[in-house]
């Protein structure tokens, strides 16, 4: 009996393999290769050029004893936790407002989301101008007669990070609102009908029924916000340049400055490896919860 040719294994599905080459290269060379490379060289004394002169954990010790890094971490924690909490609360409230079958919903949503289309550079520069002590909000309020009013986040080292936070929230809450709104819309209409027939007040329905049902949306949103927070860089560069002094420095800026300006590669590598650790601490438990229990295809 005639037998059709058995295709040679590696060449089976050849086109799909060819089409996946860029993905395979990116996964292996960039995501795995480059990451390992950086971690490897973070244990060296590389200055202007990467060199394999190992110094153990020296770079990390130096890192954690540098005031600028500590300030960066402190800022990241403050900015990160506040931005997470506020964007979740504000985003959810906005979504709940828009979910009231209002008229002009599209218009309102367009207005709340447009900042997200803008770059962090644009966002940072606008808020730099609005918070300008001589011309911005502070001077306007003073001009209205409240002479002693003082709100000068850009030049006050104690509160500068809150100035950045305002800009960050303005830019990012629209996205959270959109995700939450999609989550709300995904909830079965019948739940609302049942709650209404049962006479449960709206806020209670949200608090005890809807929010628990939206757990997956909240988790996804939290992961998205946090992985964005760790990267925050452009916003600070544009709005404050890390100042006044080093008061608004963040880790990502520390990495860039050490790698490309101070020509201290080892420090940059160690700092970026620390950023990776931070992300891993957040992503791994999430991934475990999301995919660990049930194996997926």
């Amino acid at each position: 009996m005639a037998t059709s040719d058995r295709p040679f294994q590696p060449f089976r599905n050849l086109n799909a393999k060819i089409a996946s080459i860029p993905m395979i290269l990116t996964a292996l060379v960039i995501f795995i290769g480059c990451t390992i490379w950086t971690i490897y060289y973070s244990f060296t004394k590389s200055k202007l050029l990467p060199k394999s002169n190992f110094v153990g954990f020296d770079q990390y010790e130096r890192l954690w004893s540098t005031r600028r890094w500590l300030v960066s971490i402190e800022n990241l924690v403050i900015y990160g936790s506040l931005s997470l909490i506020f964007s979740l609360i504000i985003g959810f409230l906005l979504a709940a407002l828009l979910d009231q079958k209002i008229r002009f919903e599209d218009t309102f949503r367009t207005i709340l989301l447009y900042p997200f289309a803008l770059s962090f550079i644009v966002t940072g520069l606008v808020w730099q101008w609005i918070l300008n002590p001589d011309f911005g909000v502070q001077s306007v309020v003073q001009g209205l007669g409240w002479e002693s009013f003082s709100f000068n986040p850009l030049y006050d080292a104690d509160i500068v990070i809150y100035g950045v936070l305002i800009a960050g929230l303005w830019q990012g809450t629209g996205l959270v609102m959109c995700l939450m709104l999609a989550g709300l819309r995904g909830i079965d209409e019948d739940i609302w009908k049942a709650a209404r027939v049962d006479g449960i007040p709206m806020w209670k329905t949200y608090l005890y029924i809807v929010i628990p049902m939206m757990r997956p949306v909240f988790i996804t949103t939290i992961v998205i916000i946090t992985s964005g927070i760790v990267r925050v860089y452009d916003l600070v560069v544009a709005q404050t340049g890390g100042g006044p002094g080093i008061a608004s420095e963040v880790p990502a800026k520390y990495v860039y400055d050490y790698m490309f300006q101070s020509q201290n590669l080892g420090q940059g590598f160690a700092a970026s490896s620390m950023m990776l650790v931070t992300v891993a601490v957040i992503v791994i438990p999430w991934a475990y919860l999301e995919f660990g229990g049930k194996r997926r295809g």
Binding site: M1, A2, T3, S4, D5, R6, P7
Partner: protein
């Protein structure tokens, strides 16, 4: 004559899940074979293996005498019709029909001729210029059949082609498919959940369960002589009534509870005289009542619990001697809940299954 399709020791697993196990099947040229079985038993998987859409784990598949186990779907000489129609949404009906032929680089004139011929057979000529979205369910399914038809394939594979349609259309298209088969006389393998479809269309039915073919036979055989209790229960609605009991040592009596049924007329497998624990099954439509019951070899007194008039006939749930039984009665009979009723049946129409193996005795 050489079988049209022959499947030898076919096995297929998805990872650790063995869906098909050592499956053998031969389909004769021009035969209409229906695959029937509960959801998830591997019907679609088997069909996809025959089509070449899944790589088999083990075994061989022959179509028209050729070993096609490693061959591309388009080279197997098959046409396939899917449950969701799977019409290409952006192409017109004509485009859908001709796509495969264009891929096979047939000359333009030939493509046109074949499309027109198929359209004529299926009466979709006026629809050729329309997109699938502008068709009704029945028209879409006709177009999908047309796509298989133009390929001039010797083997047609249908995966639940009618299950997305309403009852009326389903009945109409069923007749059309039957006529199509008579006209084309090519081999057809047809997957369905619908017993009526299976009984009316099939030359032979294969009942599948857990990746195995339990019984392969004519609709008649399957209905009257199911090989085991599973098949017996699966075919027929409402399903067979069962009595749990014992066959006596002489294989001539079946006792259940306080009752003893004579088994004269029941055909045990040739040369066997089984005894011991067993199930006796009788279909609701083989139960009789009234005067007929008085004359039947096996009789019981019972009480009507529930009546379901269906028009053509009436289903009654009867409790008799501690059993709860479905009985199919004439549509015009006038009974109501609580009535006393005599029911009976002929053991020749019964099926007896071993208690442990559940195979027919």
């Amino acid at each position: 004559m050489e079988p049209s399709i022959s499947i030898k020791n076919l096995a297929l697993s998805f990872g650790a899940l063995e869906v098909l196990k050592d499956l053998n099947l031969e389909v004769a040229q021009g035969e209409f074979l229906v695959l029937l079985g509960s959801s998830g038993c591997g019907k679609s998987t088997l069909l996809n293996c025959i089509a070449g859409l899944l790589d088999v784990t083990d075994g061989q598949i022959f179509i028209g005498g050729r070993n096609v186990t490693w061959q591309e779907p388009s080279k197997r000489g098959i046409g396939m019709v899917f449950q969701s129609y799977a019409l290409y949404p952006q192409m017109t009906v004509a485009g859908n029909l001709s796509f495969g032929l264009k891929n096979a680089r047939l000359p333009k004139a030939e493509i046109e001729e074949r499309v027109n011929r198929a359209a004529k057979i299926l009466q979709i000529e006026p629809l050729l210029k329309r997109k699938p979205a502008a068709l009704s369910g029945g028209q879409r399914q006709r177009a999908a059949i047309g796509r298989a038809l133009v390929r001039d394939a010797n083997v047609f594979l249908f995966d639940e082609p009618l299950s997305n349609l309403d009852a009326k259309l389903r009945a109409d298209l069923r007749v059309e498919i039957k006529q199509l088969h008579q006209k084309l006389s090519n081999t057809m393998i047809y997957v369905t959940h619908d017993q009526i479809e299976a009984m009316t269309l099939a030359d032979r039915i294969a009942i599948m369960r857990g990746g195995l073919i339990l019984q392969l036979g004519s609709p008649n055989e399957i209905y009257n002589k199911p090989v085991n209790k599973y098949v017996a229960e699966f075919i027929g609605s409402p399903s067979m009534n069962f009595f749990d009991g014992q066959i006596d040592d002489s294989s001539s009596k079946f006792s259940t509870g306080a009752q003893v049924f004579p088994l004269e007329g029941y055909g045990f497998k040739e040369g066997t005289s089984p005894k011991g624990p067993a199930w006796l099954g009788i279909r609701p439509e083989h139960m009789v009542n009234g005067a007929e019951a008085e004359a039947a070899p096996i009789r019981m007194q019972g009480k009507v619990e529930l009546v379901e008039p269906l028009g053509s006939d009436t289903l009654a749930r009867v409790s008799a001697e501690g059993h709860s039984l479905w009985v199919r009665l004439d549509g015009q009979v006038s009974i109501s809940d609580g009535d006393a009723i005599t029911i009976g049946f002929d053991p020749a129409r019964a099926n007896i299954f071993d208690k442990t193996t559940e195979n027919r005795l």
